[in-house]
Amino acid sequence: MTANTPSHHLMVRVSDMKLVAPTIKEFTLVAVDGALSPFSPGSHVVVTMSGTDANGKAKKWKNAYSLLSDPSNTEAYKIAVRLQEVSRGGSEFMHSQVQIGDVLEITPPANLFAPLWRAKKHLLIAGGVGITPFMSYLPEMQRQGANFELHYCYRGKQTGAYADQLQQQLGDACVRYDADAGNRCDLTALLKQQPRGTHIYICGPELLIEGVRQNAAQIGYPASLIHFEEFAAPQPGEPFSVTLKRSGQTIDIGAEESLLEALEAADLEIPNMCRGGVCGQCQTKVLEGDVEHRDNYLGAAEKADCIMPCVSRAKSKTLVLDL
């Protein structure tokens, strides 16, 4: 076995754009040529955005976004982007630069958050823009006649996309909690009332995911029934540099960019999927230096000599990588 199959890309055209919540914009994407493939519920795509940074220098952002359209619809994909308060540039680019008719490059759909179809019941817990992967779950769950419940937490002044539409479509199977209107979800009570063998899926801020996991641990809910997706977008940090053992090349990583982005900018092809410290594809061997691990993938032993360049950074000024 050699390296991974080179990833291929799709060119899509933005055919529609609309605000679906005060801070969330929805994009409809159609194939530039050929057809789109059906996808599996919970899939995401990585969108490449080519723009310029604050200093006017060309820069590429790559962010993962869940597909929220019906997975059997091959006419168009839809994604929704929340404008991040502290944006590294990606969400701002999507909100202010992209126009209808623009062409974007995306990866084919990949899935790190698929429903487990063996479950007797599916409990979906969404926080804010974390509703997006569930938007693709729901049509397939309805087709299959699956037993599910959606609990949707948001702040009506910022998020809450599709809340009315979902309420209408799902009736009692959808429960809404608008924190700006004083409604909060009692997670303990919710977990306690679930029939045995209910699988729980959470997508939203870390606080929500942790809240569910802690409550579940307290009442003895099996961790194997809990699934979550958290695209930890890479957070900024101190600048550092890496030396590549095989080529001898040295690369500087700015405060605002991730190591993976810097490696890609230097034309290295690093396998990757989630770009959020979850999937494990970009795992890279570290030969020298201290790593600040920010991923959810590496085990304690691997942390001794590996880094996930999509999110993690250096503690020391420099790292030597086995690349």
């Binding site: 291929h8 059906p38 599996s40 063996r118």
Partner: protein, 339 residues
């Protein structure tokens, strides 16, 4: 070139299976070097492949199509459990139907035809005289369960692996020509569990790397690898369930009949991501050729000798060759005088 499959040969009892000159030429000979190296050897199954080769299309339909489909029917009649699909794999089965029917009708338009009117599909397989209409995704509109329906029209064994928690689980399949493995036994197992019996590879970390590679596979980017073993007589169904019927065949090899009795059995394994279900499919397509047929090619004969001679002992044991391996090496040595 490919011709319409017409012959009906047997893989049991009187073993009338034979290969044409064309089939021998395109045989996927699995040894690129004199030394057998134990590797995962996965490579992209880039389509279309070389014309007329076994790699040309997603599914290779060859001169043995009717014979293999007939043999599959015989096995299923004797042991229906060779085909199974857990209920949560229904969508994955339909993924496979869609992928296979789209590919077959595009690659072999004279033999397979597909037309769609929304969810209403019309499928014609002229080789097997099948003409069905059904509602895509609705298993009740097929004459039999979806896994069996497509499995009876595609050469090679098929399995569908569900992907959960970064692992793969063997949760559906139709397996009637296995090289000594059992779907009923492996059903529900994880990737490392069903590879448990394979020697040497665990220590090399091969399965860990393979799993990471497979779980990241993209839609429309199938990959392939070759695997091989030896079989006595051209028997397709060398399953553990049928061991009493074929285990003894090994004792029938003599220095005089090695060339006609011993077959190189090569599996072309094509792995493909299923878009709607995120499952992975594997088509394990078996090609068999007798030592006599293979050794008509001097390069292959010489290489076979060198590979067999140096085969590590654990592999000889695992592949079940212990009994006749020395005899085979001796017989092959006649083609390798310059060693």
């Amino acid at each position: 070139m490919r011709v319409t499959p017409t012959k009906l040969e047997t893989f049991r009892d009187d073993f009338t299976y034979t290969n044409s000159e064309f089939a021998i030429q395109r045989f996927p000979f699995p040894f690129p070097e004199d030394q057998y190296n134990y590797t995962v050897n996965i490579e992209p199954h880039a389509l279309p492949g070389e014309p007329d080769s076994v790699y040309e299309h997603l599914f290779d339909v060859d001169e043995h199509y009717l014979s293999e489909m007939h043999e599959r029917g015989l096995v299923l009649a004797e042991s229906p459990k060779r085909c199974l699909a857990m209920p949560h794999m229904d969508l994955a089965c339909w993924d496979l139907i869609e992928r296979a029917m789209n590919a077959l009708s595009a690659d072999y338009p004279d033999w397979f035809k597909l037309s769609k009117e929304g969810d209403q599909w019309h499928w014609q397989n002229t080789l097997l005289d099948i003409d069905d209409t059904f509602t895509f995704g609705d298993s009740s509109t097929l004459p039999m369960p979806p896994m069996e329906y497509i499995g009876r029209q595609v050469q090679g064994d098929l399995a569908l692996m569900d992907q959960r928690d970064g692992d793969l689980f063997m949760d559906a399949g139709i397996v009637t020509c296995p090289a000594d493995w059992s779907l009923a036994f492996d059903a529900g197992m994880s990737f490392s569990e069903w590879h448990g019996p394979v020697p040497m590879a665990h220590e090399l970390g091969i399965f860990e790397r393979a799993l990471k590679y497979l779980t990241a596979m993209q839609v429309n980017r199938p990959v392939r690898r070759l695997n091989w073993t030896l079989t006595v007589n051209a028997r397709m169904d060398t399953s553990p369930e049928e061991y009493p019927h074929w285990g003894n065949d090994r004792a029938s090899v003599t220095p005089d009949n090695v060339g006609e009795k011993v077959y190189l059995r090569v599996e072309l394994q094509v792995i493909d991501r299923m878009p709607r279900s995120n499952a992975l499919s594997i088509n394990i397509r078996t090609y068999m050729a007798s030592m006599n047929d293979l050794c008509a090619n001097p390069d292959w004969a010489r290489r076979l000798h060198r590979v067999m001679k140096d085969l590590p002992a654990p592999l000889i044991e695992y592949k079940g060759l212990t009994r006749y391996h020395p005899m085979l090496v001796e017989w092959l040595s006649q083609f390798d005088r310059e060693q």
